[in-house]
């Protein structure tokens, strides 16, 4: 199985769907991998429990994704709101060496029981960082995109930056690039931490 399953859940308006679109653009347009993105389509997308999913096939010879929904256990799960954290269980993410990441935001989620039991968990106050460092929560998406780029390793940094340029307005590009860099650093620190723990 070469499918890579990604799910992003949160509150409508947080950029959940945008992030999933950035992930599919980087992997399919710039890396040439087969991918499918699906998203919440209802009032939820405008404020409520919202989700976006991407399935990517890591095998370059595969031309399209047969089953379009992300299947559990996920390779990558990003949880951004209290409501969406409640339903998460330990077996939602893979328990494998190089995959099975859970990213969550302690600035929006107070209690996240399952997070304690999952192996590769990174709790990072994305909203708080975005507001403190860049003045607006919308930059949280670029932080997350930086984290995803490093941890998943599916697409190159160049592909990620090309995607970022397509998605953000020119006037805020510099700030978004900074946010992306911050996410990258956090992810690299996290990977080092995992390595140390394993040693």
């Amino acid at each position: 199985m070469t499918r890579y399953e990604i799910r992003v859940v949160g509150f409508g308006g947080q950029g959940v769907i945008t992030l999933s679109k950035m992930i599919i653009m980087a992997s399919s347009i710039y890396e040439g991998l087969a991918a499918t993105q699906t998203e919440a389509y209802s009032a939820a997308a405008r404020g409520g429990k919202c989700w976006g999913e991407v399935v990517i096939d890591l095998d370059k010879n595969i031309e399209y994704i047969d089953y379009p929904k992300a299947l559990k256990p996920y390779d990558f799960l990003i949880v951004l709101s209290e409501e969406s954290a409640n339903g998460v269980k330990v077996d939602f993410v893979k328990n494998e060496e190089n995959t099975g990441f859970l990213i969550w935001d302690p600035s929006t989620i107070k209690k996240f029981r399952a997070a304690k039991k999952i192996n590769k968990v990174l709790g990072i106050p994305i909203q708080k960082l975005a507001v403190e460092k860049f003045g607006n929560i919308v930059f949280g998406n670029s932080i997350l995109f930086g984290i995803f780029t490093i941890l998943s390793g599916i697409f190159s940094e160049e592909s990620a930056l090309e995607t970022l340029r397509k998605f953000v307005p020119n006037s805020t590009l510099d700030k978004n690039l900074e946010a992306f860099e911050l996410g990258k650093q956090e992810a690299m620190n996290f990977l080092n931490q995992i390595k140390e723990e394993n040693n």
């Binding site: 679109k21 599919i24 653009m25 399919s28 347009i29 087969a34 991918a35 499918t36 993105q37 699906t38 998203e39 389509y41 209802s42 399209y64 994704i65 047969d66 089953y67 379009p68 929904k69 299947l71």
Partner: protein
């Protein structure tokens, strides 16, 4: 004209698109000039997109006051020579049936995209449910044949919309594209071919030469049904009248409704080999055959691959054209099968019923009904294993 050509075709290469947008772009590539519609979930992105795109290429996108006006505007536009379409969902197609029947009678080509949602009534508007399949065949009063195509990916929504317009121009009948709330909102890469490649495929609406100043008719010498190019109102190349009654090849009232009805049916069914598009997957040695269309095909591919690993001989016969139903092809495909499995996004099993009809119930047909939720590959695998026992 320069503006038209520069904006009609997207740059060759990969584009990330939502299903509804891919369908709209396919229509523009096919030469769409008029869209008449009334926004309805989950098809709304189509009218949103075309409202921006059509004016760029010298076309017109009109949001009418309701569905009835929309479909009538579409038929009017097509009569005067514009390639025309509408997009709606279940409640919209219910309202439009009167004019669909009229358009079939007048042999006006048009394309109809039904982005299906749950029903009946208002239903659950954001969930996929293949519950208009019957309506897409029997829309409106009277006997006539339609063509319905069932894409399963964004790429196919683009490609098959071009095919749909070609079928409409060739056979002069309503052509439906069967989409749904899920497919319409998937984002995938669409490979856009070069302008030259697209133009090679597209059948244009041109002023026909004099001899085709007619409606369809049966050639008594050869017994073949001849479908002339669609005439264009306002030019000299137009039959005498457009009537909502049975018409002769000249457009005059005919006292022979029997022959007219026969022509309406046979002009499509006698060309079924060209209209019926199908695909086969691992059918060579298959003992169990999945017959599927639209989204369930994708889950079926995975289920078949998994079942094959366990040594179960199963394959897929995929219907891309669901109406007219390819009786002979299905009969031939399933003749040695132990059983046929039909996963559908509805409870009735509309296509399962068709399979039962053509096999005269001699082969067991196992339905896998599902509503408002696409089939998980394991749902299909489970049934494959049960049937294989």
């Amino acid at each position: 004209m320069d503006i038209e050509n520069s904006k009609r075709f997207l740059p060759e290469g990969k584009h990330l698109m939502m299903g509804n947008i891919a369908m709209s772009e396919g229509a523009i590539a096919a030469g769409l000039k008029f869209f008449g519609g009334y926004p309805i979930t989950p098809s709304t992105e189509v009218i949103e997109h075309l409202a921006v795109r059509l004016p760029q290429i010298g076309g017109v996108c009109m949001q009418m006051e309701d569905e009835l006006a929309s479909i009538n505007a579409v038929i009017g536009a097509s009569l005067v020579g514009a390639k025309a379409m509408t997009a709606t969902s279940g409640p919209g197609i219910s309202l439009m049936t009167e004019t669909i029947s009229m358009a079939a009678n007048l042999e006006v080509p048009f394309v109809f995209c039904d982005v299906q949602r749950n029903g009946p009534g208002t239903g659950f508007v954001t969930e996929p449910h293949h519950n208009d399949i019957g309506l897409m065949r029997f829309a409106g009063n009277g006997e006539f044949q339609v063509i319905t195509l069932a894409p399963m990916s964004c790429q196919e929504l683009y490609d098959l919309t071009i095919t749909a317009f070609n079928f409409a121009e060739t056979y002069r009948c309503p052509v439906f594209i069967m989409s749904d709330a899920y497919l319409g909102h998937i984002h995938e890469v669409v490979n856009i071919p070069s302008k030259e490649e697209i133009l090679k495929k597209v059948i244009d609406r041109e002023i026909p030469d004099e001899i085709t100043k007619k409606f369809s008719y049966k050639d008594d010498n050869t017994g073949k049904y001849i479908i002339p190019k669609p005439p264009i109102m306002g030019t000299d190349y137009c039959p005498t009248m457009f009537l909502s009654q049975p018409h002769s090849s000249e457009g005059l009232p005919t006292p022979k409704p029997q022959l007219f009805t026969e022509m309406m049916i046979k002009k499509i069914t006698s060309n079924i080999d060209k209209i019926s598009l199908t695909e086969s997957y691992k059918l060579e040695d298959a003992e169990l055959i999945i017959i599927a269309y639209g989204l369930p095909v994708r889950a079926s591919y995975r289920a078949v691959d998994l079942a094959r690993k366990e040594g179960i001989k199963v394959g897929i016969f995929r219907l891309i054209t669901i109406w007219p139903f390819p009786d002979e092809k299905v009969k031939e495909t399933v003749k040695d099968a132990k059983a046929v499995i039909v996963p559908e996004l509805n409870y009735t099993g509309v296509i399962a019923e068709q399979v039962e009809r053509v096999t005269h119930l001699s082969t067991p047909v196992v339905r896998i009904p599902n509503v408002c939720e696409i089939h998980h590959p394991n749902d299909i695998l489970k049934i494959i294993k049960e049937v294989a026992k």
